[in-house]
């Protein structure tokens, strides 16, 4: 008898979840249907914006190629993000602890962030070669800045009283770093990693525009030149899925790291 109210509550929750997802689902399905009808009726130029069914056919036709290139780009994306995040974290640490490093590293990081990466193509090729190293380096460069800035903001936001208290009980520098600095800056660091992960796909694609033999960026160039717009959109969809999957993966890791604590974003929202 006690099962009934529980089952009923579960069903209600499922029903509410379905209802809450309904408007967004209806919106996107409606959009796709109208778009496809317009495309088939010739109201949308298919060489500018092909219909969803046309893009779907292209995905089916190029499935193996898309899968292979997604793997190639995905690998560069992950490695570039890890490298960029590591460098960003280490630089933030250096800037936090050293006034000299702050004067050296911070302007350089801002400079690198504002320079269009494509313009650096020859430099990257000479330094890292024409293989994946260049692509990973460009991805790392794009991911580095948000991680650096957010980590630094996190470090600088740590309550000085806590650090002084640790100092007064003769805690060593690594102890202060491990028990105070990192835990208290973690929401900000995670926020930086999330921003960095959302940019990683852009970095990998830009890298593949500069020098590549395969990958989704390479495929976009090939398809664009052939005016195969439906193929370009199929690849763009793959890029988006890859980028979103990676972003949500990093976000999930961030949530696990934070446990019950809020991210900086959440903390700001609640404030």
């Amino acid at each position: 008898m006690a099962e009934h109210p529980k089952k009923s509550r579960t069903l209600t929750r499922i029903g509410q979840a379905v209802l809450s997802a309904l408007p967004a689902t209806l919106f996107y399905v409606g959009l796709l249907v109208v778009w496809d009808i317009a495309s088939r009726a010739g109201k949308v130029e298919r060489y500018i914006l092909p219909g969803p069914s046309m893009i779907g056919r292209s995905i089916k036709k190029n499935w193996d190629l898309l899968l292979h290139n997604s793997w190639v780009t995905g690998r560069a994306l992950v490695l570039g993000f890890l490298l960029g995040s590591l460098i960003g974290f280490v630089c933030a640490l250096g800037i936090y602890y050293s006034k000299i490093l702050r004067k050296i590293l911070y302007p350089a990081a801002v400079f690198l962030q504002t320079v269009p990466k494509v313009a650096l193509a020859p430099v990257f090729i000479i330094w890292f070669g024409t293989g994946q190293k260049s692509i990973i380096a460009i991805t790392a460069l794009i991911c580095l800045f948000p991680v650096l800035v957010n980590t630094l903001v996190g470090f600088e936001g740590v309550d000085q009283n806590l650090l002084e208290m640790m100092h007064s009980v003769s805690a060593s520098s690594p102890q202060r770093f491990y028990y105070i600095l990192v835990p208290y800056a973690l929401p900000s660091i995670v926020a930086g990693l999330e921003v960095g992960s959302s940019l990683a796909a852009v970095g990998a694609i830009v890298g593949e525009f500069i020098a590549a033999r395969e990958g989704l960026g390479f495929e976009i160039q090939m398809a664009s030149s052939r005016i195969a717009t439906e193929e370009v959109f199929a690849v763009l969809l793959a890029v988006s899925i890859l980028g979103m999957a990676f972003y949500y993966f990093v976000r999930l890791i961030g949530r696990l790291l934070l446990g019950n604590r809020q991210t900086a974003e959440g903390a700001q929202a609640s404030a």
């Binding site: 408007p23 209806l26 919106f27 409606g30 959009l31 109208v34 778009w35 317009a38 109201k43 949308v44 130029e45 060489y47 500018i48 914006l49 494509v118 193509a121 020859p122 430099v123 090729i125 000479i126 070669g129 024409t130 593949e208 525009f209 500069i210 020098a211 590549a212 033999r213 390479f218 160039q221 090939m222 664009s224 030149s225 052939r226 005016i227 195969a228 717009t229």
Partner: protein
């Protein structure tokens, strides 16, 4: 307000929002074909015509800029509004959508477009032959096509240079798989070759003039020398628009051919003309790049048939090359991708436009 009424309002708002978004997508993507923007518009006595160049201002733009400064378009009652481009493929999309009247780009883009049902047509040839070449460092010992076997070559994937290179290899009896092709942005291949990252680079010959460190210090193997005689940059427009604006097309072609003739005969003056209206270029560089490319514009074929004339056999040859390397999937009638109709009319009405003197020969 009751909950049911609220939900009804929400539903209506949802439907309205979806329809608005869908219409926005359709509206933004359908181009403006047939609207006043796409048609050449008349302002006073001059008719405004829009032209999108294949790339940023360079030697390919030179005859059009010279024609503008020398007043050839105005003589034809045309006010030319031109804009820099970023590749012929985009030009194809823009003329087909009616966003611009004419565009310049590779003949391969016109054929690719037609094979995909986008009916654009070339009305004038600028580069009769592809000025593409593969270059290697002077001391590399790579100075024959055979010597490229097993080597790496950098260029932009699926570009006309890439197509020409693979076709030239085939003409030399070398499989394209015997060479490692490395895709890279146009500005990167020279640096990569100089640093030894790649063994050879693809380029348009004229571009060498802009790199004094390389010009004169590299081995050059042109695609034309390898037997690849394919048409290159041409002036194209939407086929339907052309058929509806025949007199205007003829006048535009006449002014443009006059521009090519003027540039062939007076490269220095043409370069100064262009430099006077274009930022970021110098007359010296424009003249030097043009002179390297001129052999591909004023050819034996044009000496007989006139500047701008389409070489029929070479268009078919190019289509076969595109088909053979998979750039186009379906066979298409190459002869429908171009027309000499307007050039014939121009030469009939103005015989002096057909003949020219080439000071480099």
């Amino acid at each position: 307000m009751s909950a049911t009424r609220m939900k009804r309002h929400q539903l209506l708002a949802m439907v309205g929002f979806t329809l608005t978004a869908a219409l926005a997508v359709v509206g933004c993507s359908s181009g403006s074909k047939g609207s006043s923007d796409s048609s050449a518009s008349s302002d006073g006595e001059l008719v405004t015509v829009t032209l999108r160049h294949s790339w940023v201002p360079d030697q390919i733009t030179l005859p059009f800029a010279a024609a503008k400064v020398e007043g050839f378009y105005e003589e034809e009652g045309i006010r030319l509004i031109d804009q820099a481009g970023n590749g012929g493929a985009v030009g194809v999309q823009l003329v087909a959508a009616g966003e611009v009247n004419f565009a310049t780009g590779e003949a391969s883009h016109v054929i690719s477009a037609r094979s995909r049902g986008i009916n654009v047509i070339s009305v004038m040839q600028e580069y009769e032959n592809q000025p593409g070449a593969v270059i290697t460092m002077e001391d590399s010992g790579l100075d024959t096509w055979e010597s490229l076997i097993g080597k790496s070559v950098g260029g932009t994937a699926a570009s006309s240079g890439h197509v020409g290179f693979e076709a030239a290899l085939e003409l030399q009896g070398i499989s394209k798989d015997a060479v490692t092709f490395v895709n890279m942005s146009p500005g990167a291949q020279f640096a990569a070759m100089s640093s030894g990252e790649i063994d050879a680079a693809l380029t348009f010959l004229g571009n060498l003039a802009g790199i004094p460190e390389l010009n004169g210090h590299v081995n050059i193997m042109t695609f034309a020398d390898a037997g690849y005689l394919a048409p290159s940059t041409c002036l194209f427009a939407d086929e339907k628009w052309v058929s509806e604006n025949e007199d205007l097309v003829k006048r535009f072609v006449r002014a443009s051919i006059k521009g090519i003739k003027f540039t062939v005969e007076n490269p220095r003056q043409a370069a100064e003309d262009m430099a006077s209206i274009t930022g970021g270029v110098t007359a010296d560089n424009l003249e030097a790049t043009w002179l390297l490319d001129q052999q591909f514009i004023a050819t034996d074929f044009t000496a007989t048939n006139g500047l701008g004339y389409h070489p029929a056999d070479q268009w078919t040859f190019l289509k076969d090359a595109l088909l053979s390397n998979g750039e186009i999937e379906e066979d298409t009638d190459a002869s429908k991708a171009w027309t000499n109709k307007y050039i014939d009319q121009v030469f009939e009405e103005s015989p002096d436009v057909k003949t020219y003197t080439d000071p480099t020969k």
